[in-house]
């Protein structure tokens, strides 16, 4: 297995006082699903932002397939999809129009949009995004992931607000992407049981520091114990 993401001793903070990420090093193997675990505010979303190039580390380096954002921004972005924090799209436009814009900004054909929306069960094409329920907003992400071919996928709590039926469909689709499309997926979540069904590795984070990376053996009790131990 090759290394797709290499975080080498990175640090990041929004202010000079508190460091959100501190001396963080992690190597992510390709074609695996990694789940970031930790309390709210420990730096999971910030870490995803650093990997996606939305933020730059104040120290250390972020390499994606051996490339850095300073020199190969678009080469990296071409194979990357990142959805960090809540899904936010043009509120005055429908789901299909939002997808059309994304296709245009990525120079992709638009013929697959209807199929992607059907897959995500967003058939009401006229409703504006601003009037979507939380679950429907989350489903747009599923439609985009279905539509856009990406080798690296970063998702921040992707299953929150989804009803069980769609959540199962989403999880199965991510496993399919990993196996068939050879994609690497990094996601954050608080739901260990849900994550244990798809993750290959758990990454434990506390106060912006990497605690440990544990392979998923399916032993949920062990993972829960480790989380409790981390907080204590």
């Amino acid at each position: 297995m090759s290394i797709i993401v290499n975080l080498d001793n990175i640090s990041f903070s929004y202010s000079k006082k508190n460091s959100l990420i501190e001396d963080f090093s992690l190597k992510i193997e390709s074609e695996k699903i990694y789940c970031l675990l930790g309390e709210n505010g420990v730096g999971k979303s910030t870490l995803l932002k650093l990997i996606s190039g939305v933020e730059s580390p104040i120290k250390g380096s972020v390499l994606i397939e051996g490339m850095d954002y300073e020199n190969d921004y678009f080469a990296i972005k071409e194979n990357l999809l990142a959805f960090i924090n809540e899904p936010s799209f043009y509120s005055h436009l429908s789901a299909s129009d939002n997808l059309r814009i994304l296709c245009k900004y990525r120079n992709l054909p638009e013929h697959g949009i209807e199929e992607a929306l059907d897959f995500a069960e967003l058939r009401d094409h006229k409703t504006k995004f601003g009037k979507f329920s939380s679950g429907m907003k989350q489903r747009i992400l599923l439609a985009i992931i279905y539509l856009v071919d990406s080798k690296l996928l970063l998702l921040d709590e992707p299953f929150s607000n989804l009803d069980p039926k769609i959540a199962i469909k989403f999880r199965e689709f991510l496993i399919r992407l990993k196996n068939e499309n050879k994609s690497t997926i990094i996601l954050s979540s608080h739901n260990i049981r849900e994550m244990s069904t798809i993750s290959d590795y758990f990454v434990f984070i506390n106060n912006g520091k990497l605690i440990e990376v544990v392979e998923n053996t399916g032993d949920i009790d062990d993972i829960e114990k480790r989380i409790l131990a981390m907080y204590l």
């Binding site: 936010s88 245009k104 900004y105 990525r106």
Partner: protein, 258 residues
């Protein structure tokens, strides 16, 4: 992605994004109000309002000039604000975009220019209809003087020179903030200040010897501030400099983001 494809896609995206009914309202509202006000307002000593049927065709055509000088500075920020609606809220799209920021900014300018031209076309069309109506039903003779045509051609030539820097100034402001009041007040104040300074220089130049040798081309008689070829050269210089400076600033800002 090739740069031409980038521009084409970004322009297409702007057309998808824009709220059509708002744009149509703006495109109809400003020309209609401009035409009504300009026909109610005395432009020079000879003109009276349109409804008393003493309006001259010259005056009606001059209202196009009023539209360009007074109503475009109000209409353009409204168009740009509509085009920029929701720009800051679509983070999930912006994060995953492969289009350069400055390409998106210039696309917004081009789409705004497109709608501005449509607005101008609407006022020209309404003016033509009004002239036709006066000619057919109110018995006003179609007596187009050469100076009237001069004015019209001059406005049309002046239009891109005035509008482009104005659009770019607004685009620059709106790349920092999407506040409609800021993007309306700053360029409008700049426009009025520019007009005022221009009027001042006109008053000085009018009687100065420097203005006399440039009478080799017939001065364009206008109810507005444009008076001679020298004035035109001054405006041209200011506009081209503005275009270059603002393009450079927007380009720099785009480069910094990426």
């Amino acid at each position: 992605m090739r740069i031409e494809e980038s521009y084409r896609n970004a322009i297409d995206a702007e057309f998808v994004k824009v709220e059509k009914y708002k744009i149509y309202l703006i495109l109809l509202f400003f020309p209609i109000v401009s035409l009504i006000i300009s026909n109610y307002t005395q432009m020079d000593n000879n003109s009276v309002d349109f409804f008393s049927q003493k309006t001259t065709i010259k005056q009606i055509i001059a209202s196009c000039g009023m539209f360009i000088f007074l109503f475009l500075p109000l209409m353009i920020p409204s168009i740009m604000h509509t085009i920029n609606t929701g720009n800051n809220e679509a983070n999930s799209i912006n994060t995953n975009s492969l289009t350069l920021d400055y390409v998106i900014v210039f696309s917004k300018i081009l789409v705004s220019l497109f709608y501005t031209l449509i607005g101008t076309f609407i006022i020209l069309l309404m003016t033509a209809l009004l002239v036709l109506y006066l000619h057919l039903f109110a018995g006003l003779a179609l007596n187009l003087e050469v100076s009237v045509l001069d004015n019209l051609i001059f406005y049309m030539l002046l239009f891109p020179l005035l509008v482009l820097p104005y659009l770019q100034l607004i685009a620059l402001i709106q790349s920092f903030t999407n506040n409609i009041f800021l993007s309306l007040i700053i360029p409008f104040t700049a426009c009025l200040t520019g007009n005022f300074l221009y009027m001042s220089s006109y008053d000085i130049l009018k009687y100065s010897p420097i203005n006399l040798p440039v009478t080799f081309i017939k001065p364009i008689i206008s109810p507005f501030f444009i008076f001679s070829i020298l004035d035109f050269v001054i405006i041209l210089g200011v506009c081209i400099t503005s275009i270059l400076v603002l393009s450079y600033l927007i380009f720099l800002r785009g480069m910094n983001r990426n």
